[in-house]
Each structure stands twice: as C-alpha cells, then as structure tokens.
Amino acid sequence: MALTRKSGASQATRANRLSRSVADMQPRTMDRRTFLKRSGVTVGAGAAVSAIASQLPFAMMGKAEAADPAAGGKIEVKRTVCTHCSVGCAIDAEVQNGVWIGQEPVFDSPLNLGAHCAKGAAIREHGHGEGRLKYPMKLVNGKYQKISWDVALNEISARMLEMRKTDGPDSVYFIGSSKHSNEQAYLMRKFVSMWGTNNCDHQARICHSTTVAGVANTWGYGAMTNSYNDMQNSKAMLFIGSNAAEAHPVSMLHTLHAKENGAKMIVVDPRFTRTAAKADQYVRIRSGSDIAFLFGVVYHIFKNGWEDKKYINDRVYGMEKVREDIMAKWTPDKVLDVCGVPEAEVLKVAETMAKNKPSTIVWCMGQTQHTIGNAFVRASCILQLTLGNIGVSGGGANIYRGHDNVQGATDIGPNPDSLPGYYGIAAGSWKHWCAVWEADYEWLKKQFVSQAMMEKSGITVSRWIDGVLEKNELIDQDPNLKAVFYWGHAPNSQSRGLEMKRAMDKLDLLVVIDPYPSATAAMAAMPPSDAKDANPNRAVYLLPAATQFETSGSATASNRSIQWREKVIEPLFEARSDHMIMYQLAEKLGFGKELVKNYKMVQGKGGMEPEPESILREVNRGTWTIGYTGQSPERLKLHMQNMHTFDVKSLRAKGGPCDGDYFGLPWPCFGTPEMKHPGTPNLYDTSKHVMEGGGNFRANFGVEKDGVNLLAEDGSHSKGADLTTGYPEFDHVLLKKLGWWDELTDAEKAKAEGKNWKTDLSGGIQRVVMKNHGCHPFGNAKARAVVWNFPDPIPQHREPLYGTRPDLVAKYPTHDDKKAFWRLPTLYKSIQQKNLEDKVAEKFPLILTSGRLVEYEGGGEETRSNPWLAELQQEAFVEINPKAANDRGIRHNDWVWLKTPTGAQLKVRAQVTERVGADTCFMPFHFSGHWQGKDMLAYYPEGAHPVVRGEAVNTATTYGYDAVTMMQETKTTICQVAKA
C-alpha cells in the first residue's frame, strides 16, 4: 500500500505517515479545489480569489465540463515543452476560456515520443498553482505584505540607483536562471551589461560549469556531443556520476532501447541508483575518486593495446604524455586503494568499452560538483579519445544537462565571464555585441566603473555570499556586494547554507523574482540566530514572475536542439513575464531604450514587453561562435509543427517541409537562416559534410605548442572538405590567402573586412567556407588530452578538502590557496591541512553526498508546491547503510540529526538501506523549508508555501570550489549521524 518510493519495512510506516499528513495539512488546499469544482464555481470566488482580479486559478475544469455547451469556449491545443529537465519533452496543452484543462502526450516528438516522468505528467498543475507568489510583496516587520507593481519597481530601482552612486554598479549581484527561455536569459545578460557589471550567474555554475570548461578546452565546445536519441546507436554505455533514471527519466527510453538491442550498460556510482538497477555491471566507487577509476580503465586499455592508434595520431594532442602518467600512477593496486574497485572489475569495464564500439560515456553532477571537477570531466574525455569514440554516432560524451534551458542559458545567458555565445568579455567582445545591440561602446563603458572592471570576470553564484561576507580589502572589486537579485534560482542549491543566511541578513537589498516565493523568501524573513546580525536598513521584495507556460520563447535541450514553446495561458494572478520585468526595471534605471532598441514591443499582461521572436532574431544576428544564427523563429516553429517527419534515431527529417534538417536545429547551426544549415546532431563527426552536420575538432588553441603540431594530421577532415589537412580558424586574411575572398558578395565584403568567422555579421565568411568549400569555420585541429592552461594539465587525483581518508592526503594533496580567483580569495590547502590537524574525519566519519529524486527538480519549491508530486515524497531523509545505522543505534524511519563540520545540524528521517555503502550517506537536495529542526512555514508569505517542506542538505554542506570554474563541492563532504 505504499504510495512512496521505498520498499520493505518502510512501506507500512510511510503509508501511515501519509494518512497522517493527509489529515494534517492538505484539506485546505484540496478541499477548496474540489468544493469549487462541485459547486460549479469557475470564476473568482472565495476570500483569496476575490483579491486576484480576473484570473481563474482554482477553476480545475475537467474536459467533461468544458465540453458542456453551457461552459462554452472552443478547446485550443498549444504545443509547449516540459520545464523540468533537459530532455525536452513536448506537451500538448488543451486550453479553454484561458484555462489549462487538459494535457495530452505528443507521440510525434522524436525526443520523448509522448513519454513523461512524474514531473512532466503533472505539469498542468503549474497552470493552476495555488502555492504561487500571487502579487508583489515587501518584507515589513518580519511579515510579507502585498504592494503594487508600481511601488515595488519604484522602490527597488530607487535603491539600486542610490547604491550605484555610493558603491558603484558592482555592488549589485544578479542571479539569473536556467529556467528562463533563451530570449530571457540572453536579455538578462544584456540587462546586466547595461547596468554596468559582470556580477551575474545562473545554475550552470553549480551544475556543469566544470564540464563546459573542461570539455571546451579539450575539443572545442562545452556541450553534450551527441544526443539521447543517438544512444540508440551505442553498443556500450558507461554512466559515471549520472542517475538518469531519476534525473532524466525519459532519456531511459532511448537507453533501454539500446540495451534491448544488445548494448552493454555500466553504472559507476557511490550509490546503487535506480539507474544502476538497470545496468549489466554496477561498480561502487568512493565518492570523489573518479580519476582513479577512469584512469584505471584507461590503464587496461593501453596495457592491452585496445586504444585507437590512428585516431589518436590524427586527432589527439598530448596522449603520449597522458599515457606515461597513467601507466606510472594508476596501476591496479593504486586504483583499488583510492577508489576501492578491484582490478577484475576495472578490467571488465575497459574490455566492455573497448570491444563494444561505438561506446559512449554519460556523466552529470556526480563528476562535476567537486574541487577537481574540471579534472574529472577531462579524465572522461581522455577515456573516450583513447577509444576514438568522439565524433562518432553511438559514441560521444553524452553530458546530460539539468534544467530545461541550462544549455541555452550557458550558451547565451548571464555568465560572469562571458557575453552571449562564449565571446568572453575582452574589449573586442564588447565591441562585437555593441554592434549587434546597436549600442554605443563608449556609452556602455561608462556604465561600468572602469574598463578594467568591464573586462574582469564577475563573482560566481556559488560564492556571492563571500562577496557579501569577505573582508573588503581581500576582494577584487571596490565594494562588497550590497544587493542580490534571485531571479529564478533556488538558494538551497548552493552550499554553505549557514553562511548564506548571514549574508542574506547583511544585505541592503534582496529581490526575489520567481513564480514561487522560493526558499529565499523564507530564509530572508527568518530572524537571524544572533539579533546583532540583522541589518535594519535591509529591504526585501518578492516579485511574481510568469512561468514558461505563460509566455512564448525557445529552450535548448541537452542535445543542443532548440524548441519553441507556444504560450499556453496568460500569466496567473499578477505575474509578469521575466522579459517584461527586465524592460520595466531598465526603464526606471535609465537604459530601457537601449535595452529594447532592436525589438518589436507588444502588449502583455502588465505592460509592454519585447516580442520573444525579435529577441531571438537579435541572438541570430550575433551568435556566430556556436551557430545560434541559423535557428530563426520561423524555422523553429516549423519544426514544432512537423515533429512527425523527424527520424527518432538520427533526428533527421525525411521529406516534408523540414527535409534534411535535424530536429530543433541542434547548434551549431551555422550561417544565416537562409543558408539552411541543418544543425549538428553529433559534434566533431568527420564522416559527414559540414553542410550535412559534419565537423571536426576546433582550432582554438593555436596551430602548435612547443613545436608540436596542434592541427589535425593530413587526411583527417570532415567529408568533402576542400582542405584535406588540418587548418586554423578562418578570418578575412586566410580567405584572401586561399583566394576565396572574391566569392563573398560586395555587401558581405563590406561587413567581413577585418573580421573573422565569429565577428563577421554578414555571415559571408561562414557561407563561403562551408557551402563552397566544405570546411569548418572554426578550423580543423586536434583535441587536447593535455590542457596546459589548467592547474593540472593532465588530470590528477586530489583528495577533497573534507574527506574520510586522511591517509591519502599526503600523496594526493589538494591545490594551493588562491588569492584573487573570480574576484575572491579561495582556500584549498589551508582547509585540508587544518582538517588533518584537527582530526575532523574522526568526528565526522561518514561521506555525505547528495542527488536527485524523480519527483522534484532543483531547489524543489516549484515541484514541492505541486500536490500531485508532493504527495509522493513527503519528508526529507538521509540514506544510511544498515551497518552504519546499527553502529549508531539508528533504526529505519527514526528521526536523526545529521551534523557536519560547519556546525549545522539537520533533522531528517533515516532511510536505512544498502543503496549506499557503509562509508556513505546520501541526501536528496530538493528540500527546503525546514531549518535545523524547525519548520519555516511562518516565514513564507501567507498561502504561498510549498506543500512539502524539509531540511535542505545544503544548509550543512562545507566549503570547497573547483580550481577552474568555482563549481561548489557538494558531492563529497563529511558528516556524522545520530539518533534524534
């Protein structure tokens, strides 16, 4: 009878708990809903509703009622895309009289074939959501009070302008969102730039930043190389640090299909996940020891001569050095010592991957969220390069992204070190985008404190708290952070919660812009543990944002396919679209005109807003680096209407209006839309012509290094290329040298003169190089097994700052401390050494790691506000092995205190299970709303709180950041658990 997930003894108790909680907490919501339905009330009724003007939030109209002529209104079908992960599942929403009344599967979608997980199948609830933030609010005397939009925008902008005068624009921090559409994420970067700072970031920082940096530095682009669909062509699949069955459930459709066709499936994880339950081989490693395992595998590949020698010779730089390093350092005894896996198991993985090619590797947060995450992901790249699996259908590095548009927001959104399209923030990059924006570079420069600050990477979202708390003389910008915008981002997804609370209390201005109040609202309203930490001048505002179902726009799935969402319903309550809010704030801040100069303005609910299509056209005009240029709104919409014409395995349209295109024009889709590039299904694939989606590794690191050639060897090139050897990236000089310049039109020549393939706004260089000569605009080079510009050019294992193996620290020490890293001092060795001296591992002998549950997403406030999902997971818990539990007198379902070295303690249920090893504890990271044993319900705005609340694991996580990207360490820290 268990409704919840755990089996065995847990079932009975969980069922009991469920019935209790049904009685306790739910009737208010559910009864009202059913009451309204029964009494036939469909328009605003009841105390709460009357205040909400014209919306129909509680009208859960069934299709039956809708079909009743008395109810009236035609049923319209709107095609949209799920907002809960990066698979990109299409949804047909049935709408009547502006109310979302039904949801049908889209069997035509080549990505999901109609399939949904719990979140996708429950998505319609977001069109009703009673837990939503309904109107702008302000924190007054510890309580949230309703205010008008005008008052909110006036007060917020006045504060900002005041801070601009006293502290400068760098005192404001903008946390953007991977749940924004491409157009909104892009507009956000433009907005922040025009405000005059690089202090902006979003979820990608704490999700796949190490992947993006590590992978781009290895072979060119920081993205999933192939696609979920392409895994149907794989013969072996290695999942390491990915629990796809819970995090990307619909991807398993393709994975299990491949498995049934004979592909071998291997799962490597500290935890026996639901994905592991489907594997042919499961390998348990110690959390944070991925390099030892991966190089253990590569060791056996080299030892047995299973590497692809020709591929390595033609397409990989530095593999010989890597080989020497691995053969010396990762002998089976050392692998066993560090990651705990015996030789036979490692050998079996190596053999499976080498003898069942093409073989692919999949990774997620299990690899990325570490102090050496950048090295983990490169070790995975090296494994695939050794086997010649990159640029091959069925192979590839299938890096599953998290949020529905985290790929898009990474590509063109608010990143502290880059303008849209990975252009960076050097003067030339600013000039390029100023040209696209038709903004005056000199004016923009004056918006910043100085040109130096304009070209200095901002603080990351993982560290904004230190931007507030760190001593002023130690930070690499003039002011400390005084204001923070949480614009579609959860706070409980960042580590070091106790310090975050202190930082929030110290701010002068905190603005939450979100469809839900989010845990930020509750954390901000909760009194500080020490009253003297409270800042009496602090102002906190909550602004209700529309969801992606209440606007239109595009989103980039993990496989780089871009899908267009139609607007399903008008924004509920007083919510406004994010791009409208950006425009309205910009108006008040004095750069509204510049922000929307190139856009068609349209009437939206709450005011004028830029039309998403015209924002996308501007993106198309500027984003040449990664080929976001060919995906015009018209082409994307045509794909959405003709999904049935695309092949599920290859993603290519056979006939029909999109003939030859790959679904969603996966980037790079080079050139102008008129050039009709079909998109790139698998990156770096030399077996195809560049105009058919083929390619090769990118020439981004020069043509030689210390006298060694970095370009591809002769004969290695994309199919049909005029240049049959390696070549550098194209610019006007190279074009002239090759005698191709005159193939440009006069108009193109005028724009392309002095430019390269990335900055030529005419697209002429890309057109001539690709269409006329079959070459890749970014050159043809080797992938780098040695990334000389990273702290460890060859990936090295280093023990975490907080670990349970002090005996390994001397041999595998962490990095030295860094002084000014993304504007902040960052500690490594001093913390690791102190922990060693203090014998912290003795007090906290268990590894603490975290991960996903299928029912929830991210910080979880949105999904925990959806009763259809919340009912399935009602309490935060910690998974603990029976041995560890018995040693501590803990029984299944007991309340326990989980403590970490930060001093934090979490009160959660014990889930006693062999899913984790005896040295490891696991907590899901989606909970919030409990703070060290106390329910925070009173601190949420009245009537706008998630149905289910629980302890956030990140209240207790420890310090630690990746040495390249500032990714937070959340996957390996330590804890102690005791019966409560």
Partner: protein
C-alpha cells in the same frame, strides 16, 4: 472486440511515477487516493525491480463476486467499472482484490460518503460518456474519446502498456525475443561482500 489489459514490463520500469501523476492529472484525483502506484521490490539491492500497479480489470473479477450490492459491471471491452450511486463503501472489495486497487477516500468528489474509488481504465462510469456528472464521479472517459489510459500513454520508458491484450502480448513477445536472456548482472558480489562477482 478488444479485451483491455494493462501490463508492466519490469525490465523497463524505472519507478519514475509518471503513471501515478498522469492519473492524478487526468482525473484530478484528490490527495490520499492512489488509483495507480509503483511498487519496488528489492529496493536498493541487486535485483531491484519496479512494477506499476492499478486495477487489473480481471476477467473473473473477485470484487464483482463479493460486492454485496452488486455495483460492479464489466464493459464489452473487459473493463471493470462500478456505480458509485449503488456502492455503499463497505470495503469488502478491498478484501477480495489481490492488488489493493480499491481506494477509500476521506472526502471529495470521488469519495462522497466514503465510497470506493479505483482505476477506471480511463473509461468513466455508468453516466453518459464525457458528461460533467461522469467526470465528477469517475474522471475522464478517454476510451470514449478513442484514446487509451493516460498512465500508459505517458509512461517514460514504455514499460506500462494499456490496451487490447492481443496487441500488448505481441509487444511483450517481441521484447522478450529481442532480449534473448534474462538479467546479466556482474559486480553486485563485490559491492555487497560476496565473492566472485556473482549475485
């Protein structure tokens, strides 16, 4: 005439609960009522398998056999339905059902006066097809619209299938032939303290 059945392929079920929330969504099933749920065996250990369970729409349905007021009936397509106006909410069908399908809500549209609620194979009840009355008591009637149960239509891995038993058995037969053999899991032994890497 089709004979409607559900089947859940445990080789494919990943316990994502998509079927559960699809059902909640389609029929607006209140909190506390679970027409469908996913049961996991050997949770967290080798051999873990999940299976999605709801009313199995038995041919010789025990609930029908024991109901004291004879509120159950079977459609031409083999779907077992019941009449909530006749049902007295005694719970005897709960005794009889081998799958725990009958649900007894505390209140709300589906359980007025504590009556029984269960999976309808998305086929509504005795009221006129797709009438407001039918929706209030039983939820949507997808079969009358020419569609199949939404839980199966939305299943993330096509593990849960719902429809004509003949078609379903063809699909399952194809899968079994393709797989050729059962589970081939290596590595459990080491992870769980047994020698030889065999489970």
């Amino acid at each position: 005439m089709a004979r409607m059945k559900f089947v859940c392929d445990s080789e494919r079920c990943i316990e994502c609960n998509g079927c559960v929330t699809a059902c909640k969504n389609e029929h607006e099933v209140p909190w506390g009522v679970s027409r469908r749920r996913v049961v996991t065996l050997n949770d967290g250990v080798p051999g873990e398998r999940s299976v999605s369970v709801a009313c199995m729409h038995c041919t010789d349905a025990p609930c029908m056999a024991v109901c004291p007021v004879d509120c159950f009936y079977q459609t031409d397509e083999g779907v077992v339905l019941h009449d909530k106006d006749l049902c007295i909410g005694c719970g005897y069908c709960f005794y009889a059902c081998p799958f725990g399908a009958p649900q007894f809500p505390q209140g709300g549209a589906f359980g007025m006066r504590g009556k029984m609620d269960k999976c309808t194979f998305c086929a509504g009840g005795p009221e006129a097809d797709n009438s407001a009355e039918e929706f209030k008591k039983y939820g949507r009637n997808r079969l009358a619209e020419g569609k199949l149960p939404l839980c199966a239509e939305m299943c993330s891995t096509k593990a849960l299938l719902g429809g004509d038993g003949q078609v379903l058995s063809d699909i399952i037969r194809d899968r079994v032939i393709k797989r050729g053999k059962g589970a081939d899991m290596v590595g459990w032994g080491t992870a769980y303290g047994k020698e030889g890497g065999k489970s």
